[in-house]
């Protein structure tokens, strides 16, 4: 157990005479997090954006109805953030795009998390030859061409995903009106790439935790490897895992925007922040609002995620001195 010095305990704030309450690592972390202004800012912004993007489209204008004669128009009373070249309301498209980008970010990161943690923990715990082989496999996958891999996945998974899509579209509230289409594909493809770094990090952390006494104790007590990994090791390295997941989400979102740049993004007429920014960047001279608004919100989200991630790291790092 990492050592705490008495002055780290929040109990120092309690009035003298009260019983010292034991505080878990998590509540300590929570307190520290709350005091970190940028992190709180980031968290609040994220929650606000998430609410806006998931609930907003229910109240706003349609993201797909066009007004060809209007074309791209700057912000006005009717279209708060202007319209795109097909006359669609930009505000609605940004909200809708936010749904997709945030969802892709979250789900792909979680996919990467689950695969990466399991893989990395097993490799780190077993060590030796198994570890070497498993890490070499990671090396191999790193070297495989990402573009081809994504194209291949898109093709192979197209039919199965369509079946899943058809099944999902029965539940209208889940689907996006158009069906999930490429979105599920993006989850799979991006998740399949991001887990690699997670696995490496987890393995590294497991290796450093492996030597600690409490693990030896657990082994002495006869616990099996599964239990040791999941009930003892992982909770202790949860800190870096959470931090890294929070930092994976912006990487995933950037990756999604890169895929949109390549033309492998979501199907039209759906929008994601990636596709909106790509369009905006091409037209930024003529219609600057097409870049400025989606770009700002995208950057704001990434900012918030990074601040939150930093804050989580500072909060969970028990060796950080209070200042």
């Amino acid at each position: 157990m990492p050592t705490l010095s008495p002055k780290d305990l929040p109990s120092a704030d309690l009035a003298a005479g009260q019983l010292e309450q034991g505080h878990s690592l998590w509540s300590d972390a929570w307190h520290r997090l709350r005091k970190n202004k940028p992190a709180v800012f980031g968290g609040v912004v994220l929650i606000a954006l998430a609410l806006l993007c998931f609930l907003g489209p229910l109240f706003s204008q349609s993201y797909e109805i066009q007004n060809l004669d209007l074309g791209a128009a700057p912000p006005s009373a009717q279209h708060w953030l202007g319209t795109d070249t097909l006359g669609r309301d930009l505000f609605a498209r940004i909200l809708f795009g936010g749904r997709i980008s945030l969802l892709v970010g979250l789900v792909a990161s979680v996919v990467a998390l689950i695969i990466g943690v399991t893989y990395g923990a097993v490799a780190g715990y077993l060590g030796g030859k198994v570890d070497t082989v498993m890490m070499r496999i990671v090396d191999i996958m790193y070297a495989l061409p990402f573009t081809i891999f994504v194209i291949l996945l898109m093709v192979f998974l197209k039919d199965p995903m369509q079946k899943v899509d058809a099944w999902l579209s029965q539940y209208r509230w889940l689907s996006f009106g158009q069906g999930m289409g490429k979105i599920l594909l993006l989850f799979a493809a991006i998740g399949a790439v991001e887990w690699l770094t997670m696995a490496r990090i987890v393995r590294g952390q497991i290796l450093s935790v492996k030597k600690m006494e409490f693990i030896e104790a657990a082994r002495a007590l006869g616990y099996g490897p599964g239990r040791i990994i999941f009930r003892h090791m992982i909770p202790n390295i949860l800190g870096p895992i959470i931090v890294y997941t929070t930092l994976t989400i912006p990487a995933v979102m950037l990756l999604e925007s890169f895929l949109s740049f390549l033309g492998l993004g979501v199907d039209a007429p759906m929008s994601s922040w990636g596709t909106l920014i790509k369009d905006g960047a091409e037209k930024m001279e003529e219609f600057p609002w097409l870049l400025v608004f989606p770009g700002s919100i995208f950057s704001l989200t990434l900012f918030s995620l990074n601040f939150l991630g930093d804050g989580l790291r500072d909060a969970l790092d028990v060796r950080a001195s209070k200042d």
Binding site: L86, G263, P269
Partner: protein, 551 residues
């Protein structure tokens, strides 16, 4: 933690110096910045044209490639029997100074100029042409445009298929060094137009033989230093993905009239980057222009904007074996419910012509009488008759297009039009180029975006695509009457009769709608006002000997 003021310089002296060095270097380099200086002090400025060519050419062997960027370069380096007239593209004498056609229209006799020379000094002879065509028809070469020859020349197809081993049986003869005789399988009134195409260009067979390239592609004969051509320019240098430079040829028979000294072909693939380069003066002509910039150029720099009709059709191909497109009423309803005028004005923006028939109105004097007419109400009525009143019960329909900003915008607009006018929801799907082509070729699609650019100016270029089982007919559509008419048109004795047959074919296409025509292309790009002799043409072919630039 103690705080101590630490001076900037003291804290990171090394980094500070490095940064300063970097900034200084950047500013210094900037001095040698804009445009590489080609002119030598004192000499008259060379006339150099900087041409945005769209993509890196695959090769510059006319028998090994099939793209427009390649053709632009090959047009400078080689010359065929006939050339394009720079104004209206009709065939004018090239290497052949004159020709006769036999009364039965089957034998063409070309008389070659005596002063036509290759860039290595060798004279261009009829034997060169004969051997060039032999190479084109060599099966192991795998020339994509071999059909341009074997569709017309007697015996060529058999030679190509390997059924005929003796090339002297093929209808190409060189009775003497300056006479070339070509015999056709059937009369082809537009043959000379087709012969302007690079498929009919000669290649320096003696040089190619030295590099072992007579029966295969990809040998070193096309490299700078090896390349030999008979065109107005010769190959000076080729830095892949950077620039390909051609310079004036001292051996070209008409060199006195060639105006430019040098042409630099830039393979810029990104339309936005290209437009940027035009603005900074790096390019004099671009290959395209992003549609959203068109209104701005129209307003602010109309002298730089070039919009010209282009012989091509933009359409949606229907896989008529897949429901709901197997019902002609559905196809018609969809075709009628597109507001082409609004699409062109607001989305494509290039002053294109809306297409209500397949053939291009006015191509070689042919104007299709058939026309797709009907209002949106009629479209709704047809849809109801097909069994989907007010769009109810309409099965899923997916529109496939290749990844491109332009195609996407058009697809989205049309999707909305169908939703608004017919209450029909279709899904859009984009694939990257190869996957998309593969889907079309294997007929694994429902509705697919497609475009067809003509190789020469004749109405048959759009009509012969739709014969049963045609290589470019991805619609699964087959009509025996249409095939019969097509065969009859090939045997027609004159243009008038031929055109009448085409009218019937167009009528069938408008009636059956295996494809939904949307608009006829225009060529939209930027041309600097300094460029002269680059007139807008229907095929966008610009023989380089007429092009000039003010310096």
């Amino acid at each position: 933690m103690e705080t101590k003021t630490v001076g900037f310089c003291r804290l990171f002296p090394m980094g500070n110096r490095l940064l300063a060095l970097f900034v200084a270097a950047a500013l210094l380099l900037n001095g040698c910045g804009r445009h590489s200086a080609d002119s030598v002090a004192g000499a008259p400025p060379k006339k150099i044209l900087n041409f945005g060519n769209g993509t890196e050419p695959q090769d510059i062997d006319p028998q090994a490639v099939n793209g427009v960027p390649e053709f632009n370069i090959i047009l400078a380096l080689l010359e065929g029997l006939v050339s394009y007239d720079p104004h209206d593209q009709h065939p004018i004498p090239g290497v052949a100074k004159s020709w006769e056609i036999s009364p039965d229209n089957l034998v063409y006799t070309f008389h070659l100029r005596e002063d036509a020379k290759w860039s290595n000094g060798d004279p261009v002879t009829a034997q060169d042409f004969l051997l060039s065509y032999k190479r084109m028809l060599t099966p192991s070469l795998g020339a994509e445009y071999a059909y341009m020859i074997f569709n017309y020349v007697a015996g060529a197809k058999d030679y190509y298929d390997g059924k005929l081993k003796d090339f002297s049986q093929v209808g190409i003869k060189a009775p003497d060094a300056h006479t070339l005789q070509i015999t056709l399988t059937h009369p082809t009134p537009y043959l000379l137009k087709a012969m302007c195409h690079m498929a009919w260009f000669p290649v320096p067979v003696k040089v190619i033989a030295k590099f072992g390239g007579l029966d295969r592609k990809g040998t070193d004969w096309t490299r700078p230093g090896n390349f030999v051509g008979n065109g107005p320019f010769r190959l000076k240098s080729w830095q892949p993905n950077q620039r390909l430079v051609v310079e004036r040829s001292p051996t070209y028979w008409d060199r006195a009239n060639v105006k430019l000294d040098e042409i630099d072909f830039f393979p810029v693939e990104n339309a936005n980057a290209e437009e940027n380069m035009f603005r900074t003066g790096q390019l004099d002509i671009t290959s395209e222009l992003p549609p959203d910039k068109i209104p701005f150029y129209k307003r602010d720099h109309p002298d730089q904007l070039r919009i010209a009709p282009f012989l091509g059709l933009y359409f949606y191909s229907c896989n008529v074996k897949r429901p709901p497109l197997d019902n002609v009423k559905v196809r018609r309803a969809l075709a009628l419910a597109i507001d082409r005028e609004s699409l062109i004005k607001n989305v494509v923006k290039g002053d294109e012509q809306p297409a209500y028939a397949v053939s291009y109105p006015g191509v070689a004097g042919y104007v299709p009488r058939a026309r797709l007419t009907g209002t949106v109400d009629e479209a709704r009525r047809l849809l109801a008759e097909a069994g989907y009143p007010d769009g109810r019960g309409f099965p899923p329909l997916e529109l496939l297009y290749n990844t491109s900003e332009g195609h996407r915008a058009i697809a989205e607009a049309i999707q909305q039009m169908w939703k608004k006018n017919l209450n029909v929801d279709i899904s859009l799907h984009n694939e990257e180029w190869k996957v998309y082509l593969d889907a079309l070729n294997t007929k694994n699609y429902q509705l697919g975006r497609y475009g067809w650019i003509a190789d020469y100016i004749d109405p048959n270029v759009f009509l012969d695509l739709w014969e049963t089982g045609g290589g470019n007919n991805d619609t699964n559509w087959s009509d025996p009457e249409y095939d019969r008419l097509l065969a009859a048109s090939r045997a027609a004795p004159n243009d008038q009769d031929r055109y009448e047959i085409y009218q019937k074919m167009d009528a069938i296409l408008v009636d059956q709608l295996p494809i939904i025509p949307i608009y006829y292309y225009t060529r939209v790009h930027l041309v600097s006002p300094k460029v002269k002799g680059y007139w807008p043409t229907l095929l966008d072919m610009h023989p380089w000997q007429y092009v000039d630039i003010d310096r």
